[in-house]
Structure formats: structure tokens, C-alpha cells
Symmetry: C2
Subunit: 667 residues, 2 copies
């Protein structure tokens, strides 16, 4: 009968129930998935999408759209149902039927790189809400640069109990509250259920009070009352602070037996319960069937932002041509041509005036010119600014309510920083580079993994990259972190040997637009080992012959970062004993391993003895030197002492390298 | 003049200033370190150590002592000064003079494995306060088992702004508040300064309100007023909830120019400022010189708990012998003999009745007998209990105010869980085993690293260990996590192939008392590949020949976990083509690599072709198969689909293994 009424007569419940039944049907068909959240949060999402969201299904990536982030990514069918119903191209009913199947646009958790209309990859709890802080911040920063005519939108988040229990969310919430990101609105699906059972098994936080303590506007509503949801969002839009709307909901709303229980969370309802739920919701249609009137009403919601989008596009077209080109370049994520020129000039300068400095300092030298060449580069640090050397003189910091700036004091929140960086990059208009000590990549790792998986171009400036940091001791000395990062697919790791390589690595990091890059930089000073700029960017193959052998090479020493100096000194010692060796600098082991076999073979060469020197664990180096290769590096955790003492103590010296080469050769 | 007065005339300020000057002097001598916190928090620590802490410097590891955890580990000199002044054996003035030097007992950040009287390794912010939750919980649990005569103490934490900004602390605070751990008292060094400058650059949280929202008792005091500190701690001791005491302090208290600024945080004061600080504090003694009267007064504070300790020891001696032996065994961390017997019996049973189950299920089967044999084993999950299979029928969960139980619902707090596990283990009396999905080791990694570094015996039960988890997709599918964990020094990683290996790995995990163990377990069912129990524990060398070649081996296939089944099937395919290969099961690659070379060589064998099969990245496997070895596994992130489709899609099949072996052989 609904098929015969007009779209205008369709009620809120009809719309919300369409979302519910699609979620139920898809999970049932997939024989796995999470029906509980879509059923519980359908009312919230329906009000948001039909009454508020600035959104045009015809162009779900339109830059000035409102963002909707499903932080509770397991409820992916909520999002897929909305994208389908509003009419996003490609999000057909067949995609919903293929939920959780290979090559569908409907994977188990939302992936922005697979599905049009998905803003960011979510699933690991807490990531969505923390990424949203970056979206909301980028919106304000771009607004400060380009004005409200071009940038003026909200960031909405649907978050679950699990999101709010994860520590990362508290870092994000504190940062958003501090920065007064009032365009950020979190709708909390407050259903009091988690996988183990009632939430009260493990949690008794007063979330509203906790958000308020962090500077948020917060309110409680009935998450099944569309009028209350509408009033709350309208109020939130006017707040001078970010807003939490705690929406009391029933998980699996409508399911006769499983609603309100953990049984509704993560498995199909089962035929009987599903039938019961449809009956309770007054839904009498076949699986995956949506009456035309409801389809039409949803399609109308999908067109809601079209007029706004076109008006915005007209304003962009009316811009002064140079400004327009720059704005569009920024939004497309294309890097400026000035970058390569700036780095080339810097390299020439470094050849003329070598800098024997720590690579963290070399990074600062590089940033002084790169920040001028790349206006979208936004730096920041998790409260280690004076140690990370990331704040060049030309940068000013943003502050609460004042977003004109290119430096972010993230606070002691490495994980929140990395997630916010994801959001800043995904929003568009900026390339974020955030800094801490290399050892603390452990804190940021889940968000770094999202960057790798979703191919988000961000740069991690990770200083104090080995025992070379000295006295702070093993808690602060990374030994396994290079390996752990190199093991992560699509993560690029650079560990430059000197000021010149540092400039090259920064260029490669910024030219990369399909994933994240980690720069591992020293605390201690290093000599500039590169005397020539070379043809192009020598670091681009990940490794290159830095110092050829004085005769036929009897060994090759591979080294990265601060240990290249040691490799060169060992080469000299061996040379004095008429033992010719070559030295290969390896600024990026993972990039090197990704080269074609021919390139690798040429660089590895055929000297019979292979040595790797790195002040870190061996793990991964056998891919170059083989199980029989010589490794000079760390075999366990570090220690607290002046760094020169530590290098001696752990036997990472030129003498040790030379001695081992000779011993192996004489075997 | 102070040298002539009696210890009784020594004032609070004299005592606190002694701590301050030792910290200043040691940092100055080391030419690096953090004077600001010890100077700012000296009053708090002095009141705690002289008026409250149940502590005997003659036996700083006495089991029923109060715990003091310096969460702000960079302020290590505060702790070292207290241990020295109270008279802990070995903590001589020379150790303070050697602050941050190699082989001293005074490393840059506190390490419990180097320094008597240090409860846990701190330095990475947030770890101390989160570990303290485990200490406080273990105290209540052991109290529930053994009564207040034997277990009755407090856990004090000194935390910094940085601790409270880290997400992990919010997980810990929420958990402690939920569980009503009223023996936990946090003294917050509220100095409004962080490294980047005033805290207001990055934070504006109302911490008192945030703690209250998490169910804590919270109050604000002047952190330099000894009477206020005393009153607050006395009040906190009587609370029915954990307590935050926000102590407003001045960082670098006493330093004429640097006090109250970030300059006082992380570098020596410099000669002039140091002299000025000593003058301001009225301190006229030579560096590292403490007047006898002050020494005596501090020594007296160090003896404060002696009577209590002796009375406790008498009560232990008076216990019924069997109970006493068990209590002492538990506190010493020795494992019961029943463990080996129980596993041996289980293995026999599995040989008789093979179980073709997921290894997460095999783990549950093992736990059914192991939890009976090992009463100190405490299980738990970060809200994935029904998926991790960690709650055996014989376990009951603890709950707020009721600590009689051996199961912990940690909530969706993987990082908080791992840190709490560290505290539970370090407290003594328990071996904690906590569970989540393997991919979420990323969330827990910083606390797992503390366990590895400090050699803490805990077990991580990490299920859903590969693309074998299927539809949840790449955000939930670990591919690099085995490598990342294997790269961590002292971390043991097991990935058993079947029910029998799972039992063996559990035994090895629990018998290990010098570090953490990760068990990587499948979601999907596996055939039991082991038909015999074998001599002893075959998994103990990390790898062993599971299936010999039918003739002279022309290839060896190494595999772990769920891919052992595939390796065996490939062996069969190749056998049918008269191509003899052997299969080596590798339940622990890292344990295998740690074997003597002879053992490794024997197990690796001399078949010309080497193959590794693991549904994860290759990174690390070249240490066995070499750069020319064949690897069948993952080359990037996973995908969302039923798991059998994924194995086919990614080419991890017996057919693919056989085909690659033949192709290589024919080259």
C-alpha cells in the first residue's frame, strides 16, 4: 500500500524502518554482521540525513558537504543503507545483497577507499570520533583561509559506547573541547549494551559530565524521538562549543526477543527473530524490497543539498582565476611544483655549505623552505615541539577560536594526533605532518594503520630514533619500531643519513599522495656524508651506493641513518687493510624492497660478504643480507647513558663492523 | 647548623628540600634530566613517605607494603632521592652521582628491574597510572582470597598533566572508578606546564570534574602545603571510591627564574639558576651533601613500616603450613607443579579424541584444565569474551566492591587492560591473561612493550589472528602484527597449529616467568594435525619437524598456525608427484630464532628449497628461508569476505604452495 502513496506522505518511521530492514536483510543474507546498531540508530541517522545533512548523493565527495562519520564502523549497514537509499551512484541494491562479499562496495566495516560516500575507514573503535576532530579542525582552518563562502560545513559523528571507552576518544574529545570546534556534533548511540553483556559489567562513567569537563556542550535525549533529535541537532548547530547528544536507544530496536540485549549486536537475527522484527515494525515487504514511495522520499533527501552544491560551485567558478586554481589544487591534493625546486635548491646549498647536524635539525632546515613552497603543509607536535624541531619561524599556531595558522599543539596525545591528522588529510586542503619521538609511534599505531590501509597522505616526524637519544633510556629508545613500521603494508619509512638525505626524504614524503610516511630522525649530530646532490633524488629507490669500493668489492655494508657514518668509517678502516668494501645507504628499507628485482640486484651487488648496520633489531634485514649476513645493531632493549657510551656498550662501532667483516672473510 | 640539631627538630621543608637539592644536583651532574617535577612535587612525596606510606627501606619488596608509583617517570630523581634518603640498600649517594650513567641504578626513567624499591617501569606517559589500577585491583583480589591480615595496603600514584592527557589514563581511570578501587589514591602534580609551554596551549580539561564523572572522589589542594596534603591523603584513605588529589604546584619550585615555566622541565638548571634555587630554599651545603640530622630524619621515615612488616611476617609464619606454602608460592611467582601434569593429561586426551576446532576453542579446552591447576591465573577480555573464549565455566567475574573472582571484564579498553595486567603481575599473587583480537595489539602495544622491557609474566590471548576471521575485513585482519610483535625484544609469540599445540603453548606461556607471551589463535576451525603427544613439549624449540619427507627431502615447508594444514596438504600433493618434502611446524618463530645454531640448523635441514606459509606478511621470515626462499602469504592488507574465499583470493592454498615449489625446483 505504501507503494501507492506519494513520497510526501511517507513518515519518519517509514524512512527509518527502510534503513532497519535493509540492515537486517543484508546481515541475514551475509550470515554475519551487526544488525543491532543500524536498528537502534536508524531514527538518529534518518533525522540527520533528511533534515540536516548538507549532502548531495549525486556528488557525495563535494568539498563543502557536511561530513558524516560512522565511528561505530561495525554498524556499516546503517551507512550503506543510507548511501543506497539516497541514491549514491554504484550503491545498488545488489551491493547490499553482496554485503561482506569479496569485491563488493559493502565490506564488513566501512572503507573510504572502496565505497563512494564513506568519509573514512572505521571499525577499530575510537578512530572515527578522533578522525572527526581532524575533519572539523580542517574545516575551520580552511574557512579561516578561504572564508565562509567556500568553506562552511559541519562534521557529524555517530559514536557507540565502545568508541567512548577507548582512550583515543578521550584524547580527541579533550582536544576538540579545547579548540572549541563547535562545528563538530557527536551523536552517541547510548544503548547500554556491549558484547560481554550490559555495559554495567565494565563501565559506569557519566559521559555527559565527562564531555562537559572537556569543554563540550552536552545533552541527553530519547534517541527514538525524531522531534527530540531534530531539536537537539538544531541547538547543537548554534553552540559555541562542540556538542555531544547522548541519544538513549534500544539496540536491535524492533527485534522482539533480542532488542536491548547483546544478542542483537554482532550476528544475524535469524529467520524467526527477523520476521518478528519486521512484524513489529509493520513491514510487510520482501527482503531487500523498498516501496517506491519510501524510495522516492529517500531520494528526495539525497537531493537536499544539490542546490547548495551548485551555488557553491558557482562561487568557486567566480573566483579570481589564480585563487581558484590554487583552491582547486589544494582540494584535489595535488602538490605544488615549487616543492621540487625548493628541495633542489636546498640540496645545492647543502653541498656548498655542508651541515653537520642532527637529522631533526636537518628536518627543520628543510621545513624552512618546504613550508614556504607547500602552503598546505600543516605541522604540529604532541607536546615535543622544541625536541622535534617542527615549528619553523614562519609558522604560527592555531588556538581556540582562531584557526588561522599552520601549527598545531596537539598536547600529549600521540594517538589523538595521528587520528586527527587522518581527518585533516581526508577533509582535503591540507597535508598534515605531526611529530613525537619514534618510540611513541606505539601509542599512535592504530591510527597510523588506518592511514596505511586507507592510503592517507600524512607525514610522521619521528625524532629521537634510536639509542642515540642517550640518557632517557630504554623506555624512550626505539629498537623494534623501525621493523614494526616497515612490516606495515603501505607504510613508508625513511631514516635519512644526513641533512641532504633528509631533504630528499621530505620531498618523497610530500610527493607521496597515496599513503603515509614516517621520517625517523636523530637527536644526535651527524656529519653530512653526501658531498654531491646527485642526479635526481637518490633516496627514491630506498637505497643507493653512497661510497664505491676502492677495488673489487669484497663486502657491502648496508646502513641507515646515523649508522651510515659508522659504515663509512668501517670502510676506511678496511681500506687501510687493503680490503675493499662498498657502502650502500638505505634511507628506506621498505621502499628498497619494493623496487623491481633488477634494481635491487644492482644495488645489492655481488660482493660475497653482506653487512647491515642499524642501531635497531635485525628483524627484516635478512631480506637484504640473508640469514648468513653480518648484522651490527641491537639485540635487545637499550640502556640509559650518554649516547656515545651506548654505541660502544652495544658494539655498534666502525671497529666492530671491520672486525666482523674480516673474521667472516677469514672463515 | 642543621648538622647539630636532632632529627626530631628537622622540619618538613628540610626534608622536602633534601629531595629537591639531590634532584637538582644529580641532573646538573648528569648534564641532562628533569629537575622540575622533583622540585615541584617534593612536598607531596615528603608528606606521603613520612606520614603515610607503609614502607620499610630494609625490605622495599615486602609483599604487604603500600605501593608508590611514579607515573611521571621523567621525575625519576624524586624517586631515587627518596630511596636513597630512606636508606634502601644499594641506593648510595654514588648511585645518585651516576644518575643516567651506564650500569647505574639510576637510569633516566625508573626501571623496576634495575633499581630496588621501584615498583614498575615508567616514563611513557600514562603507563604508571594505568599499571597502578592493576596493582590496586590485585590487592583487593588477594585480600578477598587471603583476608586483611595478610593483604591490606594502598596504591599511591604521582601523576603529571601528561599522564592525564594520554588516552590510556582515561581507560584506567574509568575502570578504577567502575570497580570502586578505593585503595587507589592519585596525587596529581597540577603544575600547568608542559614541554611546549603553558598547558593552556593544548588543554583546558576540568580534571576534577572528569574524574568525578568516572566515579572518583576528587579534591583540590595546595601542593606545597604539607598540612593540606596530609589532610587530603587521610581523607582519601577513608573514601569508598578511588581518590584524585589535585595538588596545585609550581614546577621547579625554588628556582628563581625557571620556576613555573617549561624551562624547569627537562634540562639542568645551570650553575647560576641552581645556586639561586639553593639560596631561595635556604640550602647552603655542598652538592650531594645532606646534613646528618636530615639524613637521620629521612632514615627514620624509612623505618616507619618495619614493625608492621615484622608483624605481618609473624602472621604469615603462623599460617597453617599448607596455606602458608601456597601463599608464599603465589607471592614468589612460582608456578604449581600441577600445570605440567594437567597439560600432559590433556595432550593424551587430545591424542585419543582429536579435536578439529578453532585454536580459540582449543584454548578454552586447555583453560578448562589449566585454570584448575593454576589458581593464580586470572583471565579477562576487553569486551570480547564470547569471541575470545576466555571465560571457562569455573570462573566467576569480579565486580565493583566484590573482588572474589578470577575473571575481569576490562571493557573496550585494550590498552588499559594490558597496563592493568602489568600491575596485577607486578603486584604479585596472580598471573593475568587478557584477551582481544590480534589486530588490537596495536592499541595495547605501549603497555605490552613495558611488559617486555620489564620482563613481566603476562599472557595475551589474541584471537581472530589472520584473514581467517573473514567478513570483518581489513580493519580487523592482522597481517603485520605477528611481525611487529616478533620484532619486540623479549616478547614471545606463539601461533599454534591445532588443539595439541595450543595446550603446549599455554604451558610454555605460563611456565615463562621472565616476560610476556602472546598467543595468536584462530577464529576458524582447524583439523588436529598432531596425532601424537610426542616427547615433552615439542613447541618448546619454537619449531619442529611435524611431518617428515617420504624420501630425501627436496623442499622444506615451514608454516605456523592455520597454515600448517595447508603445508601438509601441499606435502601430499607433491608426494603424489613423487616430490618428497618435509613440513616443519613453527609455533613460535621468535623462540625458534633464539635456539642455538645447531638446533636451528637441524630443524631447518638441508633440503634445497625452502618455503614459508603464513597468512601474514613475509617480513622476518627471510631469517629462515632466506631472500630466495618461497613465501606464500599476504602481500598487503586483507579484505572483507568469507574466509575460504579470502584464502583463495590471496593465493594461500596447498595448490599454490605445490605449484611454486615445483616451479622453483624446475628453474
Amino acid at each position: 500500500m505504501l507503494n501507492t502513496v506519494s513520497a510526501d506522505r511517507v513518515t519518519h518511521s517509514d524512512l527509518a524502518n527502510a534503513v532497519r530492514v535493509l540492515a537486517m536483510d543484508a546481515v541475514e543474507q551475509a550470515k554475519s554482521g551487526h544488525p543491532g546498531l543500524p536498528m537502534g540508530a536508524a531514527d538518529i541517522a534518518t533525522v540527520l540525513f533528511t533534515k540536516f545533512l548538507k549532502y548531495d548523493a549525486a556528488d557525495p565527495a563535494w568539498p563543502d558537504r557536511d561530513r558524516f562519520i560512522l565511528s561505530a564502523g561495525h554498524g556499516s549497514m546503517l551507512l550503506y543503507a543510507l548511501l543506497h537509499l539516497t541514491g549514491v551512484k554504484g550503491m545498488t541494491i545488489d551491493e547490499l545483497r553482496n554485503f561482506r562479499k569479496l569485491d563488493s562496495k559493502t565490506p564488513g566495516h566501512p572503507e573510504n577507499f572502496m565505497t563512494p560516500g564513506v568519509e573514512t575507514t572505521t571499525g577499530p573503535l575510537g578512530q572515527g570520533i578522533a578522525t572527526a576532530v581532524g575533519f572539523a579542525l580542517a574545516e575551520r582552518m580552511l574557512n579561516a583561509e578561504y572564508g565562509s563562502d567556500l568553506v562552511d560545513h559541519y562534521t557529524y559523528v555517530l559514536a557507540s559506547d565502545g568508541d567512548l571507552m577507548e582512550g583515543i576518544s578521550q584524547e580527541a574529545i579533550a582536544l576538540a573541547g579545547h579548540l572549541k570546534l563547535n562545528r563538530m556534533i557527536v551523536l552517541w548511540d547510548d544503548n547500554e549494551i556491549s558484547i560481554d553483556g550490559p555495559l554495567s559489567l565494565a563501565d559506569s562513567v557519566d559521559q555527559v559530565r565527562r564531555f562537559q569537563a572537556c569543554g563540550w556542550n552536552a545533552m541527553r535525549i530519547d534517541g527514538h524521538d525524531p522531534k527530540a533529535i531534530q531539536r537537539a541537532i538544531a541547538k547543537a548547530q548554534k553552540s559555541d562549543r562542540p556538542t555531544l547528544i547522548a541519544c538513549k536507544t534500544v539496540i536491535g530496536y524492533g527485534a522482539p526477543k533480542k532488542a536491548g540485549t547483546s544478542k542483537a549486536h554482532g550476528e544475524p537475527l535469524g529467520a524467526e527473530e527477523l520476521a518478528g522484527a519486521k512484524a513489529a515494525l509493520g513491514w510487510s515487504h520482501a527482503p531487500f524490497e523498498i516501496p517506491d514511495a519510501i524510495r522516492d522520499a529517500w531520494a528526495k533527501a539525497g537531493r537536499k543539498g544539490r542546490r547548495l552544491r551548485k551555488a557553491w560551485a558557482d562561487r568557486v567558478k567566480a573566483l579570481e582565476p589564480e585563487k581558484r586554481a590554487e583552491f582547486e589544487r589544494r582540494l584535489k591534493g595535488e602538490r605544488p611544483k615549487a616543492l621540487a625546486d625548493a628541495v633542489a635548491k636546498l640540496k645545492d646549498r647543502l653541498v656548498a655549505e655542508p651541515q653537520n647536524v642532527a637529522t631533526r635539525k636537518a628536518s627543520e632546515i628543510a621545513l624552512e623552505v618546504i613550508t614556504e613552497a607547500v602552503p598546505e603543509l600543516v605541522l604540529g607536535s604532541a607536546d615535543l615541539t622544541p625536541s622535534n624541531n617542527t615549528k619553523t619561524k614562519n609558522l604560527t599556531a592555531i588556538s581556540p577560536g582562531n584557526y588561522a595558522g599552520r601549527y598545531i599543539h596537539y598536547g600529549i596525545r600521540e594517538h589523538g594526533m595521528a587520528a586527527a591528522m587522518n581527518g585533516i588529510a581526508l577533509h582535503g586542503g591540507y597535508v598534515p605532518a605531526g611529530a613525537t619521538f619514534l618510540v611513541f609511534t606505539d601509542y599512535a599505531r592504530p591510527a597510523m594503520r588506518i592511514a596505511a590501509l586507507a592510503g592517507i597522505p600524512v607525514v610522521y616526524v619521528m625524532t629521537h630514533d634510536s639509542i642515540g637519544l642517550g640518557e632517557d633510556g630504554p623506555t624512550h629508545q626505539p629498537v623494534e619500531h623501525l621493523a614494526a613500521l616497515r612490516a606495515m603494508p603501505k607504510m613508508r619509512v625513511f631514516r635519512p643519513a644526513d641533512a641532504l638525505e633528509t631533504a630528499e626524504c621530505w620531498q618523497l614524503a610530500l610527493e607521496r599522495t597515496d599513503g603515509p610516511t614516517t621520517l625517523a630522525l636523530t637527536r644526535q649530530n651527524l656529519p653530512q656524508v653526501r658531498k654531491e646532490a646527485g642526479q635526481g633524488n637518490l633516496s627514491a629507490t630506498g637505497a643507493y651506493e653512497l661510497s664505491p669500493a676502492s677495488g673489487k668489492a669484497r663486502a657491502t655494508i648496508f646502513a641507515s641513518g646515523s649508522e651510515v657514518e659508522i659504515a663509512l668509517a668501517a670502510q676506511k678502516i678496511l681500506d687501510e687493510q687493503s680490503f675493499a668494501v662498498r657502502v650502500v645507504s638505505v634511507p628506506s628499507l621498505d621502499l628498497f624492497l619494493a623496487q623491481p628485482e633488477k634494481v635491487r640486484a644492482r644495488i645489492i651487488g655481488d660482493a660475497p660478504v653482506k653487512v647491515a648496520v642499524e642501531a635497531a633489531v635485525r628483524f627484516g634485514w635478512d631480506s637484504v643480507i640473508g640469514p648468513d649476513g653480518i648484522f651490527v645493531g641491537m639485540h635487545g632493549f637499550g640502556a640509559s647513558a650518554p649516547y656515545k657510551d651506548l654505541y660502544k656498550h652495544f658494539g655498534i662501532t666502525a671497529e666492530a663492523v671491520a672486525e666482523k667483516v674480516l673474521r667472516t672473510h677469514n672463515l
